[in-house]
């Protein structure tokens, strides 16, 4: 199976319909187009200059989502710890584990 690649295009002048051999998702409210396909097909699009302003997709890890970041940094005092292997129970109401924060 060929490697697949995903890019996020912010060039609002492009016409998604003209792309073939790749999957195109047009987020009309955001003015963003997501293009997914094999690495070679994506690179071909870029080489041909069909997409200009774009970024490659990145993985968003749970730990990169933080509320109160300044407070978190203050508490940690640069300690490279994250609670690994620590089991914590919350006696509380239910948690929305589908929230993108988690």
């Amino acid at each position: 199976m060929q490697n697949r690649k995903r890019i996020i295009v912010t060039d609002t002048t492009i016409e998604p319909d003209e792309f073939r051999d790749v999957d195109v998702i047009h987020l009309k409210h955001l003015g963003i187009v997501i293009i997914e396909g094999t690495t070679s097909n994506i690179e071909k699009l870029i080489e041909e200059g069909k997409v200009k302003q774009y970024v490659e997709d990145v993985v968003v890890k749970k730990s990169s989502l933080v509320v109160n970041p300044e407070k978190v940094e203050y508490i940690r005092q640069e300690m490279p710890l994250s609670g690994k292997n620590v089991k914590v129970a919350l006696l509380d109401s239910g948690i929305n584990t589908r929230h993108h924060f988690f």
Binding site: N85, A89, L90, G94, N96
Partner: protein, 201 residues
């Protein structure tokens, strides 16, 4: 785990508390014990079942962001929390939001770390105060949190408590296991950090 038996439904309170905890200690293994019913209230028996589950599950830390008002059950709650502490399970609980008028359970017990809410413009705040409690204070007014949907703010000792639980999760990972020393070092502190526990890089 649903201890109320009415289904595990998500709620703002639990989601918000978890978001603060996860921000400080993102790699913890979280055990969610739903002890509130759909009416947002629970019973002592539900709490006791959850505590039993914590012991069986070999939990390290228990975050309790609620208080029990009926002090006639103090000996039972004290026994339950003491049973956890005897097994090395630390309980961190909110002081409650009754000012100097009242402090409930388990907040008023010596065997827990009781956390009050602090704000620079209102040091006394609305935190329950009783005897030498709370043990320490954390931010408790307009704290940024994840809500059931999206984000928002939350005030009260419920949301100051997971800051302390997060700090102690880091401490446990660091290898600190002396509960009495932890309580001694955090005593009276406002927004304590890893430095207050003498954790060094």
């Amino acid at each position: 785990m649903d201890f109320q038996g009415d289904g595990y439904y998500p709620d703002n309170h639990g989601t918000s508390v978890a978001s603060v905890l996860f921000s400080i200690a993102p790699d913890i293994k979280l055990y969610s014990a739903k002890v509130f019913s759909t009416k947002k209230s629970g019973t002592l028996t539900t709490v006791l079942k959850a505590i039993e589950w914590c012991i069986v599950s070999d939990i390290d830390l228990v975050n309790i962001s609620f208080t029990i008002k009926d002090l006639s059950v103090q000996s039972i709650v004290e026994h339950a929390v003491g049973s956890m502490l005897a097994r090395g399970i630390w309980t961190i609980c909110s002081a409650g939001n009754y000012g100097s008028r009242f402090m409930g359970l388990p907040a008023r017990l010596d065997s827990v770390l009781t956390v009050g809410a602090w704000h620079k413009n209102n040091p006394a705040s609305f935190s329950s105060r009783w005897g030498n409690k709370p043990d320490c204070y954390y931010w408790g007014i307009n704290v940024e949190v994840a809500k059931l949907e999206g984000y928002g703010t939350m005030s009260g000792t419920s949301i100051s408590t997971p800051f302390a639980t997060g700090l102690l999760a880091l401490a446990r990972e660091y290898g600190i296991l002396d509960w009495n020393l932890v309580k001694y070092r955090l005593k009276g502190k406002i927004n304590p950090t890893t430095r207050d526990l003498k954790m060094v890089v």
